[in-house]
């Protein structure tokens, strides 16, 4: 008859902690340094026993920030070390023999070792947390709910990460393989999505940044770091001195429930670890993969990852330079992927068998890998989901982040929510897709053409910032000839100069909902003084700044800003001024009043098209005979003259272009054609 078995062995527990005290002791020491350093600062500043520095909710907010942004990564790394310390004996046949011959059951070893590891995980947090609580109590008191949530969150994350490390421990029989598999386990989902989307970017025109993090929840460190957040609510009160003061009303750990979900997942992983341990053969110590059925998963998984990464690398080295389009040709990429997949297959086989002799009899596996790699390539290339030609329905889009870089480096970068503007952007997007064959050209495909490249980047959001979104990016070859024939480019030019878009582009970050904005001043930059022949800067009075802001708004409304984005070299030099305007604002975020007002700047590059602003500058006396705005062409002429090179132009370098209603230079806007002008006027 068997005697009862125990699930916990105190000798083993004590031995584990005693053997690896440098690990948890060192971690505790390092952790303790932070609250102790803070305490030292308090003593040095003589504030230790004075007025409380912070209220309890402020302290809670600090704890939550650590829980949200530091603990996931820290626990990920530290759990790997604790798992290696606790379970490292599994990787040595001698120690496996000793442990399993001892009068303790595997269940007893499992429970005891897991508890030892959890103790190693939690002791440093307990030491650091204990000291932090002590210091917190001194500086501002403690808030019990926040403290309890923090303790639970730290414990939950520690449990999840150590349980996941424990599960991985039993998959392998080798410490190096453990480290590799542990991090693969934690990042495989995000990595696999990234790999597939990278493959999509090879084939799909405009799909340059398609990683969405759809399955990122399977990569907990990334997901927790992204999702956990600290939400604070303040109320404004008048303090006895009559000043308005923001008081912290509540602090919430946003998405804290995720930690509970992951902790439950940790329990499942722990059960899986126990199941693996029960079935684990002691002789698997030293194996890269210790679980029989996981060996083919590892072999073919490794091979497919190698096919994707290695295939793309091989293709870029050997074939990409010959492509006439910006996207890849399926056949050479499929060949590269098949070759890389086969190499990956052999590497995985060598790791599994711990031998270089893996070639004999491997042709079936090699063939399967090559075919699977090529099939994956073909499946992505065929675009069964129509990813390349996709555009959202207008009603699906809540907002759009629009980035347009013209051919001369100037651009638009703004977020838009107006449905009419979103429709305009969709029109441009669809026009670009319609001209895919003509626009999807690599430099090799553009040989013989004198082109500059413009850049269109659209991100469609289903909701607020952070909501699901989809991006498309297009590098568009531009030349006078192309601009005249391409509907897509003409629509893009019109879009860039759209008054509402320019309004959002220039003033969107200072004038928007929930911002209290006040213009405070500014300066005009790089004004040429003909007497000193120096560039000068002139500070603006508030009145001048207000007048200029109004003039800028008139120019924006008239569609004068954004017209220069697609001017090619000669016209660009004649139209763009070297000088510009900077307007200062004081902005208060009404959602975060505790932060108080902060400064914002609007920087404006002026061009000959900005007639209202140029006139205002003259009317205000900012630009006059002794302070002139120059175009780049005028500046070049001046520099040439100073160097003794006569300028053969037909204008007076000391007079600014006519700032009346006639746009200078008169032919600056010829190539988009009348259709664009009509669109602009519309």
């Amino acid at each position: 008859m068997r005697s009862k078995t125990s699930y916990f062995n105190p000798t083993l527990f004590k031995k584990n902690l005693a053997r690896f005290w440098p690990l948890w002791g060192g971690a505790s020491f390092l952790g303790a340094l932070f609250p102790l350093a803070f305490l030292t600062i308090l003593i040095r500043e003589n504030v230790l026993f004075g007025e409380p520095m912070s209220d309890p909710l402020g302290v809670t907010a600090g704890y939550y920030q650590i829980v949200a942004w530091i603990i996931p990564t820290l626990s990920l790394l530290y759990a790997a070390l604790c798992a290696l310390a606790t379970w490292g004996w599994l990787y040595n046949p001698r120690s496996v023999g000793m442990y399993h011959s001892l009068p303790v059951t595997r269940k007893g070893i499992f429970v005891t070792d897991f508890l030892s590891g959890m103790a190693m995980m939690l002791l440093p947090y307990a030491v650091t947390g204990g000291l932090a609580i002590l210091v917190s109590a001194i500086v501002g008191g403690l808030e019990p709910v926040g403290l309890a949530v923090t303790i639970l969150a730290v414990a939950g994350q520690s449990f999840f990460f150590f349980a996941s490390a424990t599960a991985v421990v039993f998959v392998t029989g080798n410490p190096f393989a453990f480290a590799a598999l542990y991090f693969i386990f934690h990042f495989i989902a995000a990595g696999a999505e990234w790999l597939v989307t990278r493959l999509m970017t090879m084939f799909y025109f405009g799909v340059e940044r398609s990683y969405q993090g759809v399955i990122e929840f399977l990569s907990p460190t990334m997901y927790l770091t992204r999702k956990l957040n600290v939400d604070t609510e303040y109320t404004q009160i008048l303090n006895p001195e009559g000043w308005e003061q923001a008081i912290l009303e509540s602090v919430t750990l946003v998405n804290g429930w995720l930690i509970a979900v992951y902790a439950l997942t940790g329990a499942v992983l722990l059960a899986a670890a126990w199941a693996l341990y029960r079935r684990r053969r002691s002789e698997s110590a030293g194996d890269v993969v210790a679980v029989g059925w996981m060996k083919p998963v590892f072999r073919y998984g490794f091979a497919l990852c190698a096919a994707c990464t290695g295939g793309m690398a091989l293709y870029n080295v050997f074939f990409a330079g010959y492509e006439t389009t910006r996207t890849a040709s399926p056949v050479p990429l499929a060949l590269c992927m098949a070759a890389a997949g086969v190499i990956g297959y052999y590497i995985a086989s060598m790791l599994l068998s711990k031998s270089l002799r893996v070639f004999r009899g491997s042709w079936k596996g090699v063939l399967a890998t090559a075919l699977a790699s090529a099939a994956l390539c073909a499946a992505v290339a065929l675009d069964p989901l129509s990813v390349e030609s996709w555009t959202p329905r207008p009603e699906e889009v809540e907002s759009v982040l629009l980035i347009v870089n013209g051919v001369n480096g100037r651009g638009v970068n703004t977020r838009l929510t107006d449905p009419a503007l979103i429709q305009n952007i969709l029109d441009v997007h669809q026009a670009v897709l319609a001209e895919r064959e003509d626009l999807n050209k690599s430099w090799r495909g553009l040989e013989g053409e004198d082109v500059s490249v413009a850049y269109l980047d659209v991100t469609y959001y289903e909701g607020e910032i952070g909501s699901p979104h989809t991006s498309r990016m297009y590098n568009l070859p531009c030349s006078r000839e192309r601009m005249e024939r391409s509907q897509a480019l003409q629509k893009l030019v019109a879009l860039a100069a759209n008054p509402a878009i320019q309004e959002a582009n220039i003033f969107g970050h200072v004038y928007r909902e929930n911002l209290e904005t006040r213009l405070t001043g500014g300066y005009a930059d790089r004004l040429y003084n003909p007497e000193t022949k120096e560039m000068e800067q002139l500070d603006l009075t508030l009145e001048q700044a207000k007048a200029l802001e109004a003039a800028v708004r008139r120019d924006v409304a008239a569609g004068h800003f954004g017209r220069t984005l697609f001017l090619l070299d000669d016209l660009y030099n004649q139209a763009i001024c070297t000088g510009g305007l900077e307007l200062y604002y004081s902005v208060t975020d009404l959602d975060r009043p505790q932060v108080g007002p902060h400064s914002q700047t609007v920087s404006l590059s002026l061009s000959a098209y900005c007639t209202e602003t140029l006139k205002a500058l003259e009317d205000l006396g900012i630009v006059n005979g002794s302070r002139r705005l120059l175009t780049y062409a005028e500046q070049s002429a001046l520099e040439s003259e100073e160097e003794g090179v006569p300028f053969e132009g037909d204008y007076d370098p000391y007079s600014f272009p006519d700032s009346g209603s006639v746009v200078y230079p008169a032919d600056a806007y010829v190539y988009p054609g009348e259709a664009v002008d009509a669109a602009l006027l519309h």
């Binding site: 001698r94 011959s101 009068p103 269940k107």
Partner: protein
């Protein structure tokens, strides 16, 4: 007693134990002999709960060994590659073992200290291989096990220390009735200590006998026939050789029976000579193309 019945253990399809059956009587010293790769260590690892057999049964005192905490607290083993914690001293390992074996005796530990004369506070990794082996015996014998399982136990020990160690083990057998299963690839090493022997090869037990059975079943005779004649053809001998007129015959029967058989030929001289264990095994197995030389050389 230790009972192994039709035990099979495979590694990636290779059967390291291929239907092993053997029986170790309580209080005996059982020598498990076999060439390298015969399956000795695998059998011992199965018996100590390290490996789980794929087929068959392994029982000690009628109880299955696998995951039997109570039973294993009565079984102590010294592996061929005995493991100790890298930073540990003998004293540390003593504390560790004491936590697992309820019968661990500090009194025995202190007595063994005098025998082995190793500084118990020196890290084990700084000791020589032989001293580490002594430490293994020191700790294992201090656990006062009812069953002692030893895998190539005296490798690395000098002859004096071998004698000391065997003396301690046999003392336990005599005083406490400890059952000892000891494996070796060298038969000569076990000759003086074992009362039962099993030969393992290619995962199978070829032979299992008590020493008395072996000795009763085979005889070595020196014979001189009339007129200096050769060994009669109808005489069943396992081996025959001669120096001059003296023939040395090894026959599978008792000495009495052999003498009676030879009497028919009216030999001038018949003299029984003691057989060594080595000779018994050579002639028991030699004709079967087994790697007997591996266990006797």
């Amino acid at each position: 007693m230790i009972q192994v019945t039709n035990t099979v253990k495979r590694f990636d399809g290779f059967a390291a134990l291929d239907g092993v059956s053997l029986s170790v009587p309580a209080g005996s010293v059982y020598g498990l002999v076999g060439p390298n790769g015969a399956g000795k260590s695998t059998l011992i690892r199965c018996l100590t709960g390290i490996y789980r057999q794929d087929e068959g049964e392994l029982a000690i005192d009628g109880q299955s060994v696998w995951e039997n905490e109570a039973l294993k607290s009565r079984v102590a083993a010294i592996a061929d590659d005995w493991y100790y914690f890298p930073q540990a001293t003998i004293r540390d390992m003593c504390r560790f073992y004491r936590g697992f074996y309820p019968s661990f005796s500090m009194e025995r530990y202190e007595k063994c200290k005098e025998v082995f004369q190793i500084d118990e506070k020196r890290p084990l990794r700084r000791l020589s291989k032989g001293m580490q082996k002594q430490a293994a015996f020191w700790l294992t014998l201090s656990a006062m096990p009812d069953y002692l399982v030893l895998d190539e136990p005296v490798d690395g020990l000098d002859p004096v220390m071998r004698r000391q160690v065997w003396s301690l083990v046999l003392g336990d057998v005599a005083q406490r009735g400890t059952t000892v299963l000891v494996s070796s690839h060298n038969l000569r090493e076990l000759e003086d200590v074992c009362d039962h022997v099993g030969i393992l090869d290619h995962g199978k037990v070829l032979l299992e006998r008590s020493l008395a059975q072996l000795q009763d079943n085979m005889v070595k005779l020196q014979v001189v026939f009339q007129d200096g004649g050769d060994v009669p053809e109808d005489l069943e001998v396992l081996h025959a050789s001669h120096v001059g007129r003296i023939h040395t015959l090894i026959m599978r029967m008792s000495a009495e029976e052999a003498t009676n058989r030879l009497a028919v030929y009216k030999p001038m001289l018949v003299d029984a000579v003691p057989l060594t264990l080595e000779e018994i095994f050579i002639y028991e197995l030699g004709g079967a193309d087994y790697a007997v030389k591996d266990i006797v050389l």
